[in-house]
Structure formats: C-alpha cells, structure tokens
C-alpha cells in the first residue's frame, strides 16, 4: 500500500538534510510502528508524506497504491486515502467541528467522483462514531479543538479518521500528552478501524502505545534512515535497553 523508496529530504529554508535514504513498505492491512530518538526525522517523515510546506525532496519516491504522493497537493493526498493524525491538533476558533468535518468528508468524496453525504446522513454517521469514541455531542458543535483537553483533541483526531475512512493512517506521536485512560480510548478507536484494506504507520517515542495497538512490524529510525526492522519484540527491546545499544549495533 505505502511504498517509500530511498527518500531524501532537506529543509527548504536551510541546507539541512533530514531524511537520508529512507525506505519502507507497509502492506495493506498491516500496522507498522516507527520508533527512534529525538531528531531522527520521524515527524518530518509524516509531514513530507502528507505534503506540508517547507520540505524539499531531493531524491527518492513515495507512493500510495502506486500513485506518486509527492506530486500531489495535501488535499489530493487526503482524497487518495492518506490521513495524518497530528501530534498537536490545531485549534480553529469560529469554525464548527461539524461544519469542518462535513466539508472535509464531502470534499474528499467529490474529489473521488463519489456522491456527497447529505446533512442527515452525515449527522447520523458522526453521532454513531462519536458515541463509540465517547465524544460528547456538545463537543461536535464547538469550534475545532478550541477548549478541548489533550485527550479530547486526540480523540477528535480519531473521530476524523473514522469519518474520513482513509486507506493509510499515519499517527504522529498520538500518545504524547495522554494519560493511560485517554491512551487506551485512542487505541481502542484505532483498533476498531483496523481492517484488511487499511494500514497504519504509528510513530512513537515509547513502547507503551504499542501495548494497546499491536504492530506487525517495528522499525527503528536514526539520522534519517531506518536502521533496524523487526517484530513487536523490537519495541520491547527499546523499552528495556534504550536506543543506545541498538544504534551502536546498527552502526
């Protein structure tokens, strides 16, 4: 599904190479985790894949279901089935959560040549998903992420994911700032969305999220590259020994 090959990325504004030949493949239906120390380029990877400004791809490629992602605008990538759950979801005062999400859902449908959802259909769907995620109906009416707690913001990200039904979900440190209960709720939401034709790339610092979202593969990232890949045990090894030994071993 997601195929990244020899990706080289530098900052647009300064001469700083962040990704230095990253290759990764996430097959359909699988959950892959990326772990790595600060500054290894994990967040940059998520931003470059979803099309944020400020980065320049100097070499390599990234594709989703064979379509070249790097050539598309962010909204085109979304319509193609890519979703990024933000580490810090943005607050947008004055724009209702519901209005925003309905616009997003219908813009994606329109871009794919599908019929748009009526407000009745949308309302029914969102109420159902909100209930599953224990999101208060009142929260749906409030402006996007304004006055939401850290946990509410992350649950709102999962709600958006559920409504947009993407093929490929990237989760950027979704566990940061969450207590154990909030993390479990988020993980439950993600697990409910797992399906044979949907894949996840879970970026995290810590192993604990992976207790709740069981990955098929774990990749260790360092200095802009994947230096080691393995099964779920690799995450446990990081938790016990830290990154030091692993990175030394990988050279």
């Amino acid at each position: 599904m997601l195929k990244i090959d020899n990706l080289h990325v530098k900052l647009e504004e300064e001469d700083k190479q962040i990704l230095k030949g990253l290759s990764l493949e996430v097959p359909a239906g699988q959950v892959h985790a990326i772990m790595g120390p600060n500054g290894s380029g994990k967040s940059t990877l998520s931003y470059v894949l979803s099309g944020r400004d400020g980065y320049e791809v100097t070499d390599g490629s990234a594709s989703l279901d064979g379509a070249d992602l790097l050539d598309m605008e962010p909204e085109e990538r979304a319509a193609a089935g890519l979703f990024l759950a933000f580490q810090y979801p943005v607050e947008i005062p004055g724009v209702g959560n519901m209005t925003f999400l309905r616009t997003a859902v219908n813009a994606q449908r329109k871009a794919r040549g599908e019929e748009e959802m009526t407000s009745g259909e949308f309302l029914k769907a969102i109420r159902e998903k909100a209930r599953e995620l224990q999101i208060d109906a009142e929260m749906l009416k409030r402006p996007v992420n304004v006055g939401f707690s850290g946990g509410e913001k992350k649950r709102n990200e999962i709600l958006q994911m559920a409504m947009l039904a993407p093929r490929m979900c990237i989760m950027d440190e979704t566990d940061s700032g969450l207590d154990v209960d909030a993390m479990r709720l988020v993980a439950d939401g993600v697990n409910a969305l797992r399906s044979p034709d949907r894949s996840f790339l879970v970026i995290t610092h810590y192993q604990r999220l992976l207790n709740h979202i069981q990955p098929d593969m774990v990749h260790i990232m360092s200095k802009g590259r994947i230096v080691k890949s393995g099964g779920p045990d690799l995450a446990l090894q990081v938790e016990e020994d830290g990154y030091g030994d692993l990175l030394a071993e990988a050279g």
């Binding site: 979703f83 004055g94 724009v95």
Partner: protein, 447 residues
C-alpha cells in the same frame, strides 16, 4: 545628551492655504442646498457656525493622517455605476420580520416603507417632522455631535448636522416586537446623500436597529443615539456597497447608567470608507461594545477603510469593548484609530480594545493607532493590535483533511472574524451575517 547642533529646516507657513481651504468649504456648502429646518433650525445654524470656525480637514490634519479627506471635501460626488448594490446574494435580512424604513438617495421613501406605527416605539421622518418648530428630538438634534467635537474636531459631522436632508427620528419607549430596519437604496448615479438619524431609548426600553444597503455615490450619515438609564440599543449595520462607493459615517452615543449599547458593522467593498464611533459614558455601570468586520479587495481599484473610535469613560464601573477585524487583499488598505479616554474619577473602568488585520497578500496594509489616556488610578484597560497572514499550520491541518486550499482560506478568514461577529448578540442575525460572509468569501477566495 551629546551637544550636537541640529539644523532644522524652516517650514514656511502656507499663507495661501487658508483662503483656499475656505473656498473649498464654500464650494462644498454651495453644492448642498442647506435646509432651513423647523425644530432643527437653531442646531443647523450652530453647526454651520462651528463648521466655518473649524474648517474642513486638510491633508496635514493629525486625525486624518492615514486617510485623505479630499474626496469627502470635494464639492460634488463623482458618478458611479448602478451595479446591483446588494451583490448576487440579494438583500440581507430579507426574510426577517422587521419594520422596514426605506431611504432612496438619502431621502425617506414612505411608499416603499412599512407603516411606521409599532407598539413601544415612535418613528417619524426628519424631513416631515422638521416642518414644525417643536419636537421631542429638538434637544437631541446636533447635541451629541456638538459634544463629540471635543477634544477632536469632526468637521464632516458638523457639516452633516447643518446639511442633512432627511433621516429618521426614533423614540423607543418600550420593547418593540420587531427590529427597525433602515434600508438604503439609490437612484441617481451621482447622489451625494446626507442623512441624520436620532435614536432616543428611554429608561429600561430596548430596541434593535439594522442598516443595510448603499445610499449614494458619496454618503455622509450621522446617528445620534441617546440611551437613558437601563436602556438597551443593538445596532447592526451590514454594508455591502459597490466597489466605487465613497462613504463617511458617524455614530455618536451617550450612554447613561446601567444602559447597554452595542454596535456592529460589517463592511464589504467600497473605494473609500470611514466610520467614526464616538461613545461617552455619562452614568455608572454601563456597557458599550463597538465592533466591525471589514472585507476589502483592492482588485477593482482602490480599497481604503478607516475605523476611528473614541470612547470616553466619564462614570464609574463602565465596560467598553472595541473589536475590529479587517481582511485585506490585492493592495487594500485598512486603518484603525481607537482611543479610550478615562476621565478623573471614572474608577473601576474596564476598557478593552483589539484591532487585527489579516493580510491575504503582501501588497495590502494595515495602519493602526491605538491610544489610551487615563486619569483615574483604579482601572483596567488593555489594547492590542496585530497584523498577520493566514496561519500556515491551520492551513495545512485543514488541507490534510481534504479541504481544498480555497475553501480552507474561507474557513480561516471566518475564524479570524469570529470574535467581531460574536459581538452581534442575536444568534439569528449573526448566523445570517456569517452565511453572507461565507458566500462572499467563497466567491472571492480564488480571485
């Protein structure tokens, strides 16, 4: 300090300037055909004398530093096209149950207006009432305008008091069931419309006053609003005018104890617009909020919009709030001059002022001059002013969800304006304004 000889350039006083300015005023007045007035006669003569003494503002006038007054001073209005003023969306508040009062080229149109009788309110047109020598409005006409000339002169408001052809006289004695909607239309492509409204809200009474439409090629409108103890007045003006329109407006409000005055203006398009708000608290525990959302696109030529506000706290425990937001693109210019004056003894004053501009390109500009002048020692006053571009982080967030770029800009502009719109108390009115804004923005986002 270092002892450095500074050579200053002597500025020769322009001896020829004074007569020229007088000529300009003379020409401006000659083109107006001043009404003699009935109950307003004395106030008109007084205003004319004051105007002659102060003269029209010149380009060096500090209060007109960011806006050239020449277009307002010119003897005649330039003709402008008769495009549909409401734009493709039709008139605003059309499906609202309200009492309509129509002005054409600044003159009351009885046939197009509703019956002016309504419980809890007395309404008359200025031109009709001014035939007689007596009226409840006699004490009010020109009085707040005259008081509002200090400490800063407002010559065009004095000109208005002297020259106003028509207007509406509203006395609110209860709680009328419907809002009063002043609708401006125009017939003459060079109409130089000058109107003067009076609103007195008696103790404990409450009303909503709406204004929409475009009254002329050049407009000079004054509202004097007098709020008695515990009175409430909600004023909502939504001005979507033609791209060539030139307009000047003043609202003078005197706010007595425990009264509440709220004024919101939406301003879209126009070549040159200036709105002055002059509010004075004369009783304790009163509230005044004045806010504006301005959308300016310089694509069709020039766009220059100026909000100039002066709030005087002359009583204790009053709350004033100024919220001004301007969205500018294609070389549009926004101006904000806002002042809070706290008089000696006006303790526990709560004054707040914010002016913000969202610049959608690098050619547009925002000029802000916030001022606080405080002579009491137990007050809370704050002001802030920011100028910025679209927030890239929010933009990426929206686009990453599949919202196309143009649509994301509409969301973020509405988000920027939200605080100003929040000042419209009525949910229904606010919703209609928001929808109208959204439609306008959606059309303009790509241009």
């Amino acid at each position: 300090m270092a002892d450095v000889a500074v050579k200053t350039k002597e500025v020769t006083p322009q001896v020829s300037g004074a007569p020229k300015a007088e000529d300009a005023l003379q020409a401006r007045l000659a083109a107006l055909d001043l009404p003699a007035g009935g109950f307003t006669a004395a106030a008109r003569r007084d205003a004319l004398a004051r105007l002659r003494a102060m003269g029209l503002p010149g380009p060096r006038d500090e209060y007109w530093r960011y806006t050239d007054p020449a277009t307002f001073s010119a003897a005649k209005a330039g003709a402008i096209g008769m495009e549909a003023d409401e734009g493709p969306d039709g008139p605003l508040f059309d499906d609202l149950d309200r009492l309509k009062i129509v002005f054409v080229d600044g003159i009351f149109d009885a046939d197009a207006s509703d019956d002016l009788a309504l419980d809890g309110i007395e309404i008359a047109s200025l031109s009709q009432a001014d035939g007689s020598g007596e009226h409840w409005a006699a004490d009010l006409y020109g009085s707040l305008e005259s008081a509002g000339q200090k400490p800063v002169a407002r010559p065009f408001a004095a000109l208005n008091t002297a020259a106003a052809k028509d207007g509406v006289l509203i006395r609110v004695t209860g709680r009328p069931s419907r809002p009063i909607h002043l609708i401006y239309r125009r017939r003459d492509e060079a109409a130089d419309a000058t109107w003067h409204h009076l609103v007195r809200v008696e103790a404990g009474a409450e009303a909503t006053l709406l204004e929409t439409g475009m009254a002329g090629a050049r407009t000079n409108g004054v509202i004097e609003a007098d709020l008695a103890r515990g009175a409430r007045l909600h004023h909502v003006a939504a001005r979507r005018v033609g791209h060539e329109a030139v307009g000047l407006s003043h609202i003078f409000a005197r706010v007595a104890a425990e009264a509440q005055f709220k004024s919101f203006t939406l301003s879209v398009n126009g070549t040159l617009m200036r709105h002055e708000g002059v509010i004075e608290f004369v009783g304790d525990d009163a509230v005044a909020h004045i806010a504006a959302a301005v959308l300016g696109d310089g694509k069709s030529g020039r766009f220059h919009h100026d909000d100039t506000i002066f709030i005087t706290h002359g009583a204790e425990r009053c709350e004033s709030r100024q919220v001004f937001k301007k969205v500018l693109k294609n070389g549009a210019v926004g101006v904000f001059q806002g002042k809070i004056l706290v008089r000696p003894g006006a303790q526990k004053t709560d004054g707040y002022q914010i002016s913000q501009a969202l610049l959608l390109d690098e050619r547009s500009q925002f000029l802000a001059k916030p001022e606080l002048e405080i002579y009491a020692d137990d007050v809370v006053c704050s002001h802030g002013s920011t100028t910025g571009a679209i927030d890239e982080e929010a933009m990426f967030y929206l686009r990453s969800r599949g919202v196309p770029k143009d649509r994301a800009i509409v969301f973020l502009v509405l988000s920027f304006l939200a605080d100003a719109l929040q000042e419209v108390e009525d949910d229904g009115l606010r919703g209609q304004i928001n929808d109208r804004l959204e439609a306008w923005l959606t059309r303009h986002a790509t241009q």
